[in-house]
């Protein structure tokens, strides 16, 4: 661990998280833990077809079952909003598609697409009622594979979808929703300067975020049209906005109370059940609880895209990369909106390359609409890039870390998608990886070592927070981001540091949408950075007021008071000779000096610091079964500054585990009819404890100059390198380059039977 610095009292320490006791005792209330009097249970009927026109739905039998209080279909919802992308917080949202994903209207577009829902007095009755709903489907041809969906004769999902980003505007609809391109320099000239050019094609499978808590909500609608929503999500303000749009109600009538959230990883940045529960509650006048089964989570909530990528990189003999080209196609699922943009922009971002061309396609297929998943889009493109870079290093007999160092983006490097990097720590991560004992440790038989790097932008965004000084000298921090991985702790630590009081004297609350200003959701690795900045600014506001109150008590000017170590002091000799006044004294007298003392901040936080990581992975391959075991793993990352190093390490370790699952096991398997074959944890196998070794972490700290404590986002980067690190390690062990994820035993065995020799270039 580098820089666990002594210059701060709380920043960089590892205090117990404020919500910790609730989470180890079972007290913490997650989405499904809410019970309201008179509560009904809602269930969803889902399409068994990958693609089907809904001719009619007969709900009479279901509605007449005793105990059933309401049955709804798409026609009971308000008409979908206009089919345009609209700015919604940080990212554009197409609310028409959102509404149609929540409940199908004329067509079911994937196995698992919601087509009707019921509310009943018990789960058993609701489930019985679901079986009584009769849907007349006209089954249509479907398409699951991204490349197949791009063909001109592919079954069309939407007859009003025309490829965006091409000129002239196409007159025929297509499954290709968007084409985008990023280009700098002269790509052909770049390749012509290269001594070695390697071009490879890769595929990645859609993988699910795999949060252990299924989606869950309780919604209570009042007679005057207000909606009270208790649910687990990555953003209560997102839920408020999305439900208001889908149900066509004013935002001020919607209150969303954030439950504790049992993992999200991007998958809970949208709504599935909440609008339906709201509609059922509105009809019945009773609270409605809806919880997805695990099967529903897999069939109907967003995985990330699968992708088909072609990566071409050229380099001179000394290892200088002269040109890099990528063609990317990402599955969006049933509606447009894959993370193709970030996929394009991240692909080569770790490197300073003069000639770059990246073309991306956003493609709809008959699968659930993708949702964000940790660094959305980046792992898919960077997987191929990091594999090709490794192959170039091998070909040129250059150490793979040295090759990366030679081409690494540094401060001042202009990224091909636009911005010029400020202080970044990519080179530092490479250096730390090279120096790590892991990198030079001996390997045994059938073992190999791989290296890969990764880049993610990180974001800031709209953030609000309040700091209230209590009359006994403690403080209450109010913020608005669901705490998924310890952010209450990091925010409280920064508040303690600024206020100069003990961490234990601060209570922090994640407030509902009516109790704190707007916050963009918990995602993009923004909370400790952006909401942290709001908390710091709010705390500084409270300090200004505390100083002003001390000045009144001392009868001196406010600017003659300074705040040091949690107490007001006269600023210099001229200010007067007063004993320092602790926060508790000022707070206790606040009524006499002007009333309660608080600080507030609402701001759009800019200046997120980009994140870079470099991973080292050792694998052992069982040549008989094809099973690949990760036997040692080290993740190095520039984290800016770790506010709570324990939870920062946890982000790295968790990202690696998900990446290893993506590399080796996880995939959606569809049958020929387009039905998901493995919608459960038994067959969709996420890594378990016995699949993984300890995951060593090295926190490199190159502070982000745009944050008072140097914070960078940390949560996204660690899922990017593992797929390539594992693939490169397998190549080192076997001399075979695997290009299709997951690298499961059958694929490893097949590649071995193909000779197991070095791939010809």
């Amino acid at each position: 661990m580098k820089n666990e610095t002594q210059e701060f009292k709380w920043v960089g320490k590892r205090p117990i998280r404020p919500d910790g006791v609730d989470k180890v005792t079972g007290r913490a209330k997650f989405g499904a833990d809410m019970h309201l009097p008179g509560m009904l249970i809602g269930r969803v009927l889902r399409s068994p077809h990958a693609h089907a026109r809904i001719r009619s739905i007969d709900t009479t039998k279901a509605a007449s079952l005793p105990g059933v209080k309401a049955v709804v279909t798409g026609s009971d919802f308000p008409p979908p909003p206009p089919p345009v992308w609209q700015a919604a917080g940080e990212v554009p949202v197409n609310f028409r598609d959102l509404a149609r994903n929540v409940m199908a209207r004329d067509k079911a577009l994937y196995d698992g697409h919601a087509v009707a829902a019921v509310a009943a007095t018990s789960a058993a009755i609701a489930e019985e009622a679901i079986d009584l709903i009769e849907v007349d489907y006209e089954v249509l041809p479907h398409v699951i594979d991204v490349k197949a969906a791009m063909k001109p004769d592919a079954p069309l999902l939407h007859d009003d979808l025309f490829t965006d980003g091409v000129s002239p505007k196409p007159d025929k609809p297509s499954n290709i929703a968007k084409r985008m391109e990023f280009a700098v320099g002269d790509i052909e000239a770049g390749f012509s300067k290269a001594d070695v050019v390697i071009e490879r094609e890769f595929t990645t499978k859609p993988v699910h975020q795999g949060y252990i808590e299924p989606h869950a909500c309780v919604v209570d609608s009042s007679e005057d049209g207000r909606l009270f929503i208790h649910c687990s999500s990555q953003g209560q303000f997102m839920v408020r906005q999305f439900c208001a749009r889908v149900l066509d109600v004013e935002i001020s009538k919607v209150t969303v109370v954030p439950a504790e959230i049992g993992g999200g990883f991007g998958g809970k940045t949208t709504v599935y059940l909440e609008p339906t529960a709201g509609l059922l509650s509105r009809i019945t006048g009773r609270p409605v609880k809806m919880v997805m089964s695990r099967t529903e989570v897999f069939r109907a909530s967003g995985p990330t895209s699968g992708g088909a990528t072609k990566i071409k990189i050229g380099a001179t003999k000394d290892g200088t990369i002269t040109a890099a080209q990528a063609t990317l196609a990402y599955q969006a699922g049933a509606f447009p909106g894959s993370p193709i943009g970030p996929g394009c922009m991240c692909a080569f971002a770790p490197y300073n390359i003069q000639n770059v061309n990246v073309v991306g396609h956003d493609v709809v297929v008959n699968r659930p609409k993708v949702a964000a998943y940790r660094a959305p889009g980046a792992p898919i493109s960077e997987f191929g890039v990091e594999c090709v870079i490794d192959e170039i290093a091998e070909k040129l007999s250059i150490d793979p870390i040295a090759l990366r160092e030679k081409n690494a983006a540094r401060q001042g490097t202009k990224a091909y998608y636009g911005p010029t990097f400020g202080p970044i720590g990519f080179v530092e991560t490479l250096e730390a990886a090279k120096q790590h004992p892991h990198y030079s440790a001996p390997l045994g038989e059938n073992q190999g070592r791989g290296v890969a790097s990764g880049f993610w932008f990180n974001i800031g965004g709209d953030s609000s927070a309040s700091v209230h000084i209590n009359e006994d000298g403690t403080a209450t921090v109010i913020e608005g981001n669901p705490d998924i991985g310890g952010s209450r702790a990091s925010l409280a630590q920064m508040a303690a540091e600024v206020l100069g009081i003990d961490y234990d004297k601060i209570r922090i609350t994640v407030a509902d949408t009516s109790s704190v200003g707007y916050n963009f959701l918990t995602g993009g690795s923004r909370v400790t950075f952006a909401s942290g900045k709001a908390v710091i600014e709010a705390a500084n506001g409270a300090i200004s007021e505390l100083c002003a109150r001390a000045a009144k008590l001392w009868e001196i000017d406010a600017d003659a008071v300074e705040w040091v170590d949690g107490e007001a002091r006269p600023a210099g000799d001229n200010a007067g000779d007063f004993e320092p006044m602790p926060l508790s004294t000022i707070a206790g007298a606040s009524g006499k000096t002007g009333g309660p003392i608080s600080g507030h901040a609402s701001l759009n936080v800019k200046g997120a610091g980009p994140g870079f990581g470099t991973h080292i992975c050792d694998v052992e391959v069982d040549q008989e079964t094809g099973r690949v075991s990760v036997i040692r793993y080290t993740a190095v990352q520039d984290v800016g500054r770790a506010i709570h190093p324990g939870y920062v390490e946890g982000q790295l370790q968790g990202g690696v585990a998900q990446g290893v699952g993506w590399a080796l096991n996880e995939e959606y398997i569809y049958d020929k009819d387009g039905r998901l074959d493995n919608p459960g944890f038994l067959d969709y196998r996420v890594p378990v404890a016995s699949d993984l070794p300890m995951i060593d972490t090295v926190l490199v700290e190159v502070p982000n100059p745009n944050h008072p404590y140097g914070v960078r986002g940390v949560g996204e980067v660690p899922i990017i390198p593992p797929m390539a690190a594992v693939a490169n390690a397998i190549s080192d062990a076997l001399g075979v380059r695997l290009k299709d994820l997951p690298m499961s035993p059958p694929k490893v065995l097949a590649s071995l039977s193909n000779g197991g020799s070095r791939t010809p270039s």
């Binding site: 345009v84 992308w85 609209q86 700015a87 940080e90 990212v91 554009p92 965006d164 980003g165 091409v166 000129s167 505007k169 968007k178 084409r179 985008m180 391109e181 990023f182 280009a183 975020q209 999200g264 990883f265 991007g266 940045t269 993370p339 943009g341 970030p342 922009m345 964000a372 998943y373 940790r374 660094a375 959305p376 202009k414 998608y417 636009g418 911005p419 010029t420 990097f421 400020g422 993610w456 932008f457 990180n458 974001i459 800031g460 965004g461 995602g523 993009g524 690795s525 923004r526 759009n604 800019k606 200046g607 997120a608 986002g713 949560g715 996204e716």
Partner: protein
């Protein structure tokens, strides 16, 4: 004159392939207005979809950011995250 760059996707759709412009403007809003005057519709596309990097600094909801005569202004897709 600030150097303004739009991604190839936008240039194919709106500007006939031209992706670099010299624009005399003091704010990002003025840059967008200027582009939209020459290429109607691009302003709306930028408003919905685009962030901006002015001299290396990324802004997600661009409007009022200052642009200097020697600034580099890059429009890029907005970034969310997991």
């Amino acid at each position: 004159m600030a150097k303004v760059v739009i991604p190839a996707g936008l240039s194919q759709q709106f500007t006939g392939g031209k992706s670099e412009f010299e624009i005399n403007a003091k704010t990002v809003r003025a840059v967008i207005r200027c582009l939209d005057k020459d290429f109607p519709g691009i302003g709306k596309a930028i408003e919905i979809d685009m962030a901006v990097a002015v001299d290396g600094e990324i802004y997600h909801d661009p409007l009022l950011e200052s642009v200097a005569p020697d600034s580099e202004v890059y429009f890029l897709p907005r970034i969310g995250g997991g």
